[in-house]
Symmetry: C2
Subunit: 202 residues, 2 copies
């Protein structure tokens, strides 16, 4: 039992250290040797837990997707209208991307490895597309606003925000002037909603 706990702890240390390396340098730019060094765990112990780099990437991707799914379920259960839920979901995801390096690494790895729709975004973006279609049908969007164009816009905004958060995490301090990503996204939503919502917040 103690042995199992120790193994779980070692795996967590490895996943966290690997996430930082993958997030900063991408899949191709990261080696098991560097992860081993960053985690302070011998390369023998690393390969005991994760036979190859792809196995570690897979663990990170799984954890990052699970975190997004959890946020999605929480927001979906909130009972907000579909436009409000969309805003709320993206803010929660921005918070996640900013605070959790595993989630951020998952978003990057999924993009680098799939080449189609990034596997992290496809956990939640189809639901946003559906919610916005419902918002349109419920008269929450102004006449003429195409819900699918708005959904695409949301996907692009989150992508831009993700890359900005990453650049800021590893770059010099200058970007800190933007403030937290969530507040930045709140300001962007206020700007977008006054154009698309029937009843925009003040």
């Amino acid at each position: 039992m103690v042995k199992q706990e120790r193994a779980a702890r070692t795996r967590k240390i490895l996943v966290d250290a690997a996430a930082l390396e993958f997030d900063r340098d991408g899949y191709e730019g990261t080696s098991l040797a560097r992860i081993s060094k960053a985690a302070g765990i011998s390369s023998g112990a690393v390969t005991f837990h994760f036979a190859h780099k792809g196995a570690l990437a897979g663990a990170i991707l799984g954890q990052g997707r699970a975190a997004a799914r959890e946020v999605l379920e929480k927001v979906a259960g909130d009972g907000a209208d579909p436009l409000g839920a969309t805003v709320r979901l993206t803010l929660e995801l921005a918070r996640l991307l900013e605070s959790d390096v595993v989630v951020r690494a998952a978003a990057r790895l999924a993009r680098e490895q799939s080449r189609t729709l990034p596997g992290w975004y496809c956990v939640w973006l189809p639901t946003v597309r559906q919610w916005l279609a419902e918002a349109g049908a419920a008269g929450l969007l102004r006449p003429g606003v195409q819900s699918d164009v708005l959904a695409t816009t949301v996907g692009y905004l989150l992508t831009g925000l993700e890359l900005r958060i990453r650049a800021r995490a590893f770059g010099p301090e200058e970007g800190a002037a933007d403030g937290p990503a969530v507040e930045q996204l709140e300001r962007i939503w206020r700007l977008v909603l006054r154009g698309v919502a029937t009843d925009p917040p003040a």
Copy 2:
């Protein structure tokens, strides 16, 4: 003279082949050996023209930045109002990202190598920030619209679009349903402008 022309042609073939590799797989995921194979040029000839991978990346970055600067100067000389010029510039840049793999590779390489503001975006995004501030001062933006928030939004939208264009260039056909990137961005602008512009287009 003929010899110089031949050298220039070889360099162009190499830059184009390398851009495709860098755009698809990033700096770390690309080797001189693969570029040599893709270009159909011996590795001896490759290193004669570009001593190392970084030299090729530098040439691509320079060419991609020059292309963005050219578009910027053309739009700046058009005499449009600052809000119209911003829209026009982003559409021209989207066209460039979609049609020119060297520009797209430059945007990716700059981001991977700098970790601060991506070096391709900083060719033109500061000008957008300035134009939008001027648009605000000229009363072209609705009261309450913060021009710097709009500028950040523009940067994020282009980033998302860039990544989408790249995924589509190398992924399966499915994404083609979105239509050309320029048309997609036009639809997004219509949606954004109705919220921010004093006098949005119909």
